[in-house]
Assembly symmetry: C2
Homo-oligomer: 209 residues x 2
DNA sequence: TGACGAAAGTTAGCACCTTTCACATATGTT
DNA sequence: AACATATGTGAAAGGTGCTAACTTTCGTCA
């Protein structure tokens, strides 16, 4: 790459080993999943979009499943980052910080319903991929951390774990129902933030049962 | 074919217009979805299991999606029946009746995780199928009914709707997390019934916020 | 500098799947 | 008995996943 490896046009894609196919494929698949649903994706189409032959992806991924796992992995990174950003936007240990973690989760589902569904609809992926499992734990860890801060208890405390799980299942369900049945959610006149604050308050109330 | 429609062996399947292909296909697909995941199903394989050519299914279903929608429709019928049975197993208007509706929901997810995921993972299906929408409403209606009975309010009451939605999102999320991340649920030592009773109690408490 | 091996792409090809089309066969209605 | 209809079959087109064998490019080390 001394001067220009045949630099022809504006986009730096013309190299015939064109650099970052892997990333471009993941981006293409993410887009396909988002627009055509988790099923309406094909390796061939992704390759077409990246401008390579339909066999090229297999130099970077073993399976079509591995591509999807790549998308999921990348999505989980973003999800976790969003959750952490949500928490850090409010005072440490505050109820708002807890709710903000949930809000980030819901926002993600709304912004990328296809990818969100993919992340949690991957049946065979989960068993085969310890890294995805780890990232899932990481996301849950953000919830646990916020709850622990709020209750002023160590994250490993069983009560913290339990309440964090409750919160998560609530937010998870609300996210799914929001993207699956918008009309129902609209009918119930749910405002996300109110909802999340109410729930957080209820679950983190001093005495358990 | 006067006496017996060619009754040859034990199974009544030998008629070459063999009666209920549609139902048999749905059963086959349900099984495939359950064992090989929502993706690992093919019309061809289902036809093979039903003992017909791979073109036969298209006499009963327009698409492969329509077959899946058939499975979903049938599953929703069973889900609703289970929820209603759960409610009716306890005193009308009791908290237990509410929790039992949720328990039926969770049990369904545990018993048929593949189908459960299919029901709520169908993106394109939902838009195109008003009957599925209606059945979804029907299931939600069971929750609403139980909540209304508990609160002694009409089902159409906004407060009833809102609390029913809250309950549903909780149960929905718990169901998904249960089948997706069993280990996490186990780690949090969640007992379904305790959990559901706790949640129901919290959500149906007299004053809202 | 230039030979070489690994990385990353290509084309060709098989097996399978979806869907359609033309055709065959049972059903039942009049 | 005849005909329309519902339900089956086989063949074929087009797409997809994945592999194999070949080619090009890149970095590296004598």
């Amino acid at each position: 790459m001394s001067n220009d490896p045949a630099a022809p046009s504006v986009t730096p894609k013309a190299a015939y080993h064109h650099g970052d196919l892997r990333a471009q494929l993941i981006a293409a698949v993410r887009d396909l999943v988002e627009t055509h649903g988790p099923d309406g994706f094909s390796v061939a189409e992704a390759a077409r979009r990246a401008g390579v032959s339909s066999a090229a992806p297999y130099k970077h991924f073993k399976d079509r499943h591995e591509i999807l796992r790549g998308v999921v992995s990348e999505a989980m990174d973003r999800l976790r980052a969003a959750m952490e950003a949500g928490a850090e936007a409010h005072a440490y240990g505050s109820l708002e910080a807890v709710a903000a973690v949930g809000q980030a989760y819901v926002d993600f589902a709304k912004d990328e319903p296809g990818v969100f569904r993919l992340v949690f609809g991957l049946t065979e992926g989960h068993e085969n991929a310890p890294d995805l499992l780890a990232k899932g734990e990481g996301c849950f860890g953000v919830v646990v951390h916020a709850v622990a801060a709020r209750l002023d208890l160590p994250p490993a405390d069983p009560d913290v774990q339990r309440r964090a799980y409750m919160l998560w299942s609530f937010v998870h369900g609300h996210s799914f129902l929001t993207i699956d049945m918008k009309h129902k959610v609209a009918a119930a006149e749910i405002d996300d933030w109110d909802y999340l604050m109410t729930i957080s308050h209820a679950i983190l109330a001093p005495t358990g049962s």
